[in-house]
Structure formats: structure tokens, C-alpha cells
Amino acid sequence: MPESASTFGAGIDSIYYIILWITGAIFVLVETALIVFIIRYRHREGRVAVHTHGSKKAEIVWTVIPFILVLFIVYASNDIWLQVKRADQEGAAPADALRLRVVAKQFEWNVTYPGPDEELDTSDDFVKRNQLHVPIGRAVRIDLGSEDVIHSFFLPDFRVKQDAVPGMTIPVWFEATRTGEFPLACAELCGLGHYRMRASLTVHEADDFDRWQSEEIESGSPAADADASDSETADENKVNEGEESA
Amino acid sequence: MSQAAAIHAQAPRPMEGMKVYNVKLGMWVFLLSEVMFFSGLIGAYIILRFAHPEHWAAPGEVLAVPLTAFNTFMLICSSVTMVKAFAAIEHGDQAGLKKWLLATIVLGAAFVGIQVVEYTKLIEHGFVPIASLYAAEGGPLYGSTFYTMTGFHGVHVSIGVLCLSFTAFQAFRGRYTEEYYGGVEIIGLYWHFVDLVWIILFTIVYLI
């Protein structure tokens, strides 16, 4: 997996590694036993199988141990799951998180920024197509929607994935721990252009983000209530219909 | 000693099957699948309605409750006549079997007929399944769910009437006796099931 770029990424990865260790150990145990038995008990002249119908004790042992293991994995997994997905609960996105709106549509992502007043649906909002910009070290909380079909908002480096469902507004949050440019991919089959519904997420240093935001407003990015596809800054938007892959 | 008895003598007693003969067990099993089918449709209805109650109208605003209540009563009566038909053949009463089967068919056909009439009236009123043409109180989902649930029920009743007609035809040919009445029993089971589904549908669609 790519190196984690979010605060909860490491936590999610650690669950993955716990499961990898447990399942890896079981894999080695079981497959080795299988191979050893096949070799050791293969038919040879005069060999007779041992007639037995089973062992109650064995059944209990190999029921209880797996049961305990899986319960452990459930216990280890649940807290971080709720923390990531219930954006409004304790320990999740703080109240002063940067609020963004992302609306998916065939085949692009339209991001509404709240502007300097940090409130969505005010006059200083602006919209970017296929470009997500956030500051490092600050929680970002997204209201995720869709205009047409189900898409899925996937930021691999951030361990973020959330289906965008038309008719629903679903909260997604994360906090970036590294600057740089990262891919945003669609992870739910959404039609003909699903394979090219890519966008990019840029994580800025805090003051760099403010600078970027002012530039956007000055250069006249479309206001939040304008149609995003009329964007004047088309040259900044990478994915168009019919564009060949690089 | 008979062949089967000899086998039973030497082999240990099996845990015998449910002592329910094949077609009867088959019908019960089939009806279980029908329960699941209607549960899926009714479940969808419940989910959609409780998410958006504003898309529905109060009972009686759009649907003709009194007429349908009468229709429900008729269907229940048809279950009674079905029971009487089965009781008749259990006692070898051929005349009773024919009489009560015919009564069941008439009542079942009348139910379908009245429902068709109700459908035409509702469609004239603008209560349709098609969202873009919906013109009645409430919202299009009301229409969509109504026609899907009652429509499939109506199809089941119609198929039941056809099967009852076949059973009646066989009865007139003297096919059933007090020892051999499986065909009557299983159509009876199906008919009672169809009636039960209607009682549930009537309650949740027309009364709630």
C-alpha cells in the first residue's frame, strides 16, 4: 500500500497488519499440515488408514480458538472504523474542520470551496473541477454527493473511500499529514467514463493554501452557483471527454 | 411377507420423513418461497414509505377502501368455500366437492374482476405507476408500490383461479376420492396462502 498521508491511515494500516499476521500464521499452519499429511499418509504397499470418525475435543478446540481470534479482530477494528466513518462523533472531525462540498457526476468531481468566510453556500464560495486542495495538518470535512449515479470517492494514500449516492449527502473527513499531490479515483462503476474519472488532491502548507485560495478567487473561478462545466480555468482541469491518456 | 415389509424388517427403522406426502410437502415448500417474494416487495414498500411519508396519501384519499373491503370479504369467503370443498372430498362427497370448487372459482374471479375495475378507475384519476404521468394525491412512489404489490397478488389470484378450474375439471371427471385428494388439498393450500397475503396487503396498503 502507498505510504499513509492521513492521521488515521496508520491506524487502519495497523489493523491490516494484525490481520496479515494472524491469517498468515494460520495459512502457514494449515497449508503445511496439508502438504505434510499428503506426503506422510500417501498410499504405499500395505498401508492401512486409521478408522476414526472424529474427536469431540478437537472440534471444541478448533471452534473456540478461531472464535476468539475473530472476536479479537472485531474488537481491534471497531473503534477506528467508527472514528473514520462517523464524522460527527467524538474523536472524529472537529467542529472547526475545513468544510468542502464534493459532488460527483459522470465523469468528474466538482469541489465547492467555502472561501475565506469558511462557510458553504455563501457568496464567496467557488467551484473547481477535478481539483481538491487542502491544507496540511487541518481536518477537512466533506459533504459528499452525486448528481447522477453512484460513484465512490477514493483517496488511496489517505485510506479514504466513501460511495457517493444520489439523493444522499454523506460526510467524509480526513486530516493530511504530508504535502504533495495525490490521486483521487472513482471506485464504483459509474458508466462509460468510470476508468478516467480521475482527479487530484493537492495538500498545501497552511499559508500556501491561503495563497492558492486568494489566487483562485481573484482569477475568477466560477462561483458556487455557476455551472462548474463552464469553468474558465479549463486549462487547469485535466480530464476532458476524449482526452487520450498521457 | 411383502417386499417392503421384508426390507423394513431387516433394516433398522429410518427416521421417516415428515409423513406429509410429496405434493403436499412440495406445495408447502413452494409457499415458503412465495412468502419471501411478497416479503421482498412489502419490505421495499415499508422502507420507501417510512423514508418519505409525504409521498403517500392517507387511506381513503385515493383508494376505494369500502369497495376493496367488500372484495376482501369475498376472498375470505372463497377460502371458506375452499375449506368446504376439501372437507367434502375428504368424506367422498363428490357433489359437494364440485359445488364448493365452483363457488370458490366464482368468488376468486369476481375478486379479480373488481380489482380490474378499481384499477381502471384509479388510472383515470391519475393514480398510475409511471412517475412522469402521476397526477394523484401523494407522490409517484405511492402508485409504483401499489400497483407492484397488488398487481403481483392479482396475478397470483388469477393463476389460482386457473388452477382451481383445472381442479374442478378433474373433479368433474371423478378424479378425486376420499383416499386420493392430494390435488384438491394442495390447491387449497395455495388458495389460503393467496388469501392470507391479501389480508396483509389490504391492511398495510388500504388501512394504514
Binding site: 478408522h51 | 424388517a9 405434493v23
Partner: protein, 601 residues
């Protein structure tokens, strides 16, 4: 002709085999519209293997595109411009390919092989009946599946092409042609599956009734061969799950055609409701796809080890537990769907718990071969591979059962790896095992063992080279159903792995030709099969290969369970279920009077 219907298991209603009376059924009644379960099983075999080839061909095309994106496919010129101009696959055709590959494999290959073929072959013979409870319903079940398959195939030819919303058909994409670019094809997909549902349902009613009511004397529930238990529980799952799918498909079809909006949000419909309905069916469906395979594996492994199944009651209990728990895990397909996260927690718990009965079965298979006398005949090789691969598939499932890990791997190739380890590594290897094991009984000819072992070795090696790396693709972030991953910079480094997989996928596909050739060759030129080539115990091995119409000459009697291999003190290492305890077989004359040796008169 009146058939007495008694309130007891239908002893006298069965039409046993009569060697003195020749089988004079006309050709059409014998081979086309047959009510004989063995013939119907054979018909399901041919139909399903045909669709397995179709599904495989679709997969080859998918892998071509992923291995060599944008390159013209050899032979692709035969495809129309709407699918692959110049042999280069179009994205819309690719979406149809992934959809139809899954659809054909699940509904028209694996299900009819496991349930239609093995169910028909095995159930009446294993319980000791002359045929199914409802032979004509059985015939209708097959002949309903055929038009369903034809419709699905024909949907490639309509305008707009075949369905392209995934085998899961999530609306609104699947409900609105403007979104998917597919209109009639998507509707035909729904219609075909509704029809197939009727076929499955008829089969389920038949199997349940036959198993409950028509077991021969002595065939208690706990003496049933495990394939019968598995098929019984599977039939119950089909009975209860298919109608839910039917309801959902009908609502989707209405949304597509008559303008309802069950799943469209503009007028109050709910896209998520489709997912709940579909997966409420869909999860029991995947257990439908694996349980019969587990039953077959148990049968073959016990036979190949010359030992009883270890923990038979636990094996039965595990089948029942899996089926039961399978109803409360469906939400694990919807963890990232926007469903309430607390539901995610509860589904995670139930999903993790369902791993336990599967684990129990794996340990019991190990226990069966432990201290056995292992004969690595072709069925056994495939059955052991089933265990090995199912373990991998099951363990990979633990990752996605954990909701936080699923955030990353959902809708990636990690899931694709899991699916194929359980469905191919699991179900298909078990199907191979069962085919090599029972083909002799139903066709009277052995499948060539050398070709069988070659097929096994090639398949096993290539299969792992294809599907194991998909775990890595998924961990690298490669999403599912992506026509051209190179559109994403972060996926470009994975292209060599995709090409690697595709090379071996083509090899895997080619290796199956060995299997298909073996089947066709052996039907006419295979070595004639004896009654009991594997020295097995269940009732079918008492009969000629193939068994006559009516199976047994009289109702058989059963004296013990099906796995009494290597019983101490006996000369042979097997002990047929029908052999009386005093060692001499009861022969009951068809004239009526019993001449059972050793029976007190």
C-alpha cells in the same frame, strides 16, 4: 394413471428399474424432454460447461485489455465496430465484458453445475430413490434455464449491447439508459435472471421434497452422504433467496421500462434499497455457490483417504451454521455504501463469526486425511486443491470483513482475488473433482486419468499465478472494473503485474481445452467404467454405469453411514451402505416375494 398418494413416504409410487422390460422410450422422451434425473443432470452438465466456456472467453478478453491496453486483440476483428473496432476493445464493451463474465459464471456455470448437475445426479441415487419427487417439474426446471441462458447470450446482439452495470447492477446506473449507454441489454439481463430464478426454484422444491420424503429404509439423516446434506441446505437457501432477487429485478425492470422510480432518488426512490435487496439475496447466493462444493469435497476426500469423514456431525452442523449465519451478513457488501456506520459494526461481527464454521470444515478435512491411506487419483487431487485454495480465499475474506481495512480494499482487485479464490479455487476445483469422480457413473466411461492429471497440474499452477497477484494489485489501489488503469499515474507501476497476470490467464484458459477435450473424447472412447471404480460406499456404486431408468430394481436398504472406509477386521477397505451386516447382500426379486438371504422368514 392414478398414483396413490399415501400419507407416508411414497414407497409404492416409485417406478423401479425393470431389467426384463426394455427401455422403449422414444428418443425425444429419452434424451430431450426427459424426466429422468440422470439425463437432466447430463443436460445441465452440457449446458453449464458451454456457459463456462463463454464466461471464460469473456475473461480472456478482459485480461487482454488489461494486459495490453489498447492493443488489437488477435481475432478481435470478428467483433462488430460497436464492441471492438479494429480489434481494440471499447470501454463500453469492456463494461459489458466484466458484467457478463460475472453473470454467466455465477448464474449459468457454477450454479447449474453444482445445483443442477450434481443435485440431479446425486440426490435420488444417494437417498435410494428411483427418481426425484417431481420428475416433470425437474424437466421443466432444465428447460426453463435454457431460454434464460439464450436470452442472456442474445443480449450481446441488441442495440446498446449487453448489460454493463456490473453483475451487481446498482441503480441508478442500471436503471437509466442515459447513464449506462445500455437499454435493451440491461432489461434482457433482468428478464433472463427472473426466468432463471423460476428454474432454480423448481429445482429447490424438488430437491427438498425428495430428500425429506424419499430416503430409503435405513437412510437416516445422519447416514446421508455429505453432498446430499449440502444440496439440501443449498436448496433451502435457493428457495428463500431467489424470490428476493426476483422482487428486486422486477422493481428494477419497472424502473427501466414503465417509469417507476423505486431506486431513483428524484421522486423519493432509494438507490441503497436495491443494494439491501440484492445483497440479502446475494450473500446466501455465494453460500449456494460453495456449500455443494464442500459436500463434494468431503465425499471425494474421504474416498481418496480411505477414511471416514472426520467429524461428520460437526460437518453437518457447520453447513447449517453457514447457511443460517449467511442471512445476517449481507451488509458487509455495503460497508462503504453510505449505510449507517453502526450497521457496519454489527455486520462486521456477524461476518467474522461466519468464518468459524468454515474453519471447522477445513480442520475436519485435514482430520480426514490425517492418518489416511491417501490415493492421489484425479478427483482427489482436485479436492485437495479445493481445500488449499478455499483456505486462501477464506482467509482473504477476513481482511474485507474488517470494516476499516475494507475502506481501502473495497472495490479493488483484492476483492476480485478473494472472489476468484473461493469461486474458482473453491467451487470450480470441487466441480472438477466431482466431475472426474462421477462422470464414470453417469456416462459409463472413465475420464482419461493422464489428461486429468495434466489438466489439474496446469490449471493449479496457472490459476495461482493469475489470481494471487491480484491481492497485490488491490493493495496497490487498483480499482475494479477499470478499462484502462494507466489513466491513473499511481496505477502505472502495476502494469507489468497486469501483463504477467494476463499471460498466465491466457495459459489458464488454454489449459481448460485439455479438460473439454477429455470430456468429449471419453464420451465415445473412454475406458468403460466399472460399477465402482473408486471403491466407494454410497448407493450409486451398487448400480451399473450408467444406472438404468428407475435406478434400483427395488427399494434399497441401508445399514450404515457412507464413510465406513478401512473398517477394522474387514478384508476390503470399504463397506457399501447397502451391504447387510452379515455380509451377504439382500437380493429382492422383482416378482414380489423376498429372497433376502439371511433374513428371518
Amino acid at each position: 394413471m392414478t398414483t396413490p398418494q399415501l400419507l407416508a413416504p411414497n414407497v409404492s409410487a416409485q417406478h423401479w428399474a425393470d431389467p426384463s422390460h426394455p427401455d422403449d422410450r422414444p428418443f425425444i422422451r429419452k434424451y430431450v424432454f426427459s424426466t429422468d434425473h440422470k439425463t437432466i443432470g447430463n443436460q445441465f452438465m452440457f449446458m453449464s460447461l458451454f456457459f463456462l466456456m463463454i464466461g471464460g472467453a469473456l475473461a480472456m478478453m478482459i485480461r487482454w485489455q488489461l494486459g495490453w491496453p489498447g492493443l488489437p486483440m488477435p481475432g478481435g476483428g470478428v467483433l462488430p465496430e460497436t464492441m471492438a473496432p479494429g480489434g481494440i476493445l471499447l470501454p463500453e464493451f469492456y463494461n459489458s465484458l466484466v458484467t457478463m463474465h460475472g453473470t454467466f459464471m455465477i448464474f449459468f456455470a457454477i450454479m447449474p453445475l453444482l445445483v443442477g448437475m450434481f443435485g440431479n445426479w446425486l440426490i435420488p441415487l444417494h437417498v435410494g430413490a428411483s427418481d426425484m419427487a417431481f420428475p416433470r417439474l425437474n424437466m421443466m426446471s432444465f428447460w426453463t434455464a435454457v431460454p434464460a441462458g439464450f436470452i442472456m447470450l442474445a443480449s450481446f446482439a441488441v442495440e446498446g449491447g449487453a448489460a454493463g452495470a456490473g453483475w451487481t447492477a446498482y441503480p441508478p446506473l442500471s436503471a437509466v439508459p442515459e447513464y449506462s449507454g445500455v437499454s435493451t441489454g440491461q432489461q434482457l439481463w433482468c428478464v433472463s435472471l427472473v426466468i432463471l430464478g423460476f428454474s432454480s426454484l423448481m429445482g429447490a422444491v424438488n430437491y427438498i421434497t425428495t430428500i425429506v420424503n424419499m430416503r430409503a429404509p435405513g437412510m437416516t439423516w445422519l447416514r446421508l452422504p455429505l453432498p446430499v446434506w449440502a444440496l439440501f441446505i443449498t436448496a433451502i437457501l435457493i428457495l428463500l433467496a431467489m424470490p428476493i432477487l426476483a422482487g428486486a429485478l422486477i422493481m428494477l425492470l419497472f424502473d427501466q421500462t414503465i417509469g417507476t422510480t423505486f431506486f431513483l432518488p428524484e421522486t423519493g426512490g432509494q438507490p441503497l434499497m436495491w443494494q439491501h435487496l440484492f445483497w440479502y439475496f446475494g450473500h446466501p447466493e455465494v453460500y449456494i455457490l460453495i456449500l455443494p462444493a464442500m459436500g463434494i469435497a468431503s465425499e471425494v476426500i474421504a474416498n481418496g483417504s480411505r477414511k471416514p469423514v472426520f467429524g461428520y456431525p460437526a460437518m453437518v452442523g457447520a453447513i447449517i451454521a453457514i447457511a443460517f449465519l449467511g442471512w445476517i451478513v449481507w451488509g458487509h457488501h455495503m460497508f462503504q455504501s453510505g449505510m449507517n456506520p453502526l450497521l457496519g459494526s454489527s455486520f462486521m461481527l456477524s461476518t467474522m463469526i461466519i468464518a468459524v464454521p468454515s474453519a471447522i470444515k477445513v480442520f475436519n478435512w485435514l482430520g480426514t486425511i490425517w492418518r489416511g491411506d491417501i490415493h492421489l487419483h484425479t478427483p482427489m487431487l482436485n479436492a485437495l486443491a479445493f481445500v488449499a485454495m478455499f483456505v486462501i480465499g477464506g482467509l482473504s475474506g477476513v481482511f474485507m470483513a474488517s470494516t476499516p481495512v475494507d475502506i481501502y480494499i473495497h472495490d479493488t482487485y483484492f476483492i476480485v482475488a478473494h472472489i476468484h479464490y473461493v469461486l474458482f479455487g473453491g467451487s470450480l476445483f470441487a466441480i472438477f473433482a466431482g466431475l472426474y469422480f462421477w462422470f464414470p457413473k453417469f456416462y459409463g466411461r472413465m475420464l482419461n486419468p493422464t489428461l486429468g492429471k495434466i489438466h489439474f497440474a496446469l490449471t493449479f499452477v496457472f490459476y495461482n499465478l493469475v489470481f494471487f497477484p491480484m491481492h497485490n494489485l488491490g493493495l496497490g489501489g487498483m480499482m475494479r472494473r477499470i478499462y484502462d488503469p494507466n489513466q491513473y499515474g499511481f496505477l502505472e507501476p502495476l502494469q507489468p503485474m497486469n501483463t504477467f497476470i494476463s499471460v498466465f490467464a491466457l495459459a489458464l484458459g488454454a489449459s481448460q481445452l485439455v479438460f473439454f477435450f477429455n470430456i468429449l473424447w471419453s464420451l465415445w472412447r473412454g475406458e468403460k467404467a466399472p460399477e465402482n471404480p473408486w471403491s466407494s460406499n454410497s448407493l450409486e456404486w451398487d448400480l451399473p454405469s450408467p444406472p438404468p431408468h428407475g435406478n434400483f430394481e427395488a427399494m434399497p436398504a441401508v445399514y450404515r453411514g457412507p464413510y465406513e472406509y478401512s473398517y477394522p477386521g474387514r478384508g476390503e477397505d470399504f463397506w457399501p451402505q447397502s451391504e447387510p451386516p452379515n455380509g451377504r447382500r439382500a437380493r429382492v426379486e422383482t416378482s414380489g416375494a423376498p429372497v433376502a438371504e439371511g433374513v428371518p422368514q
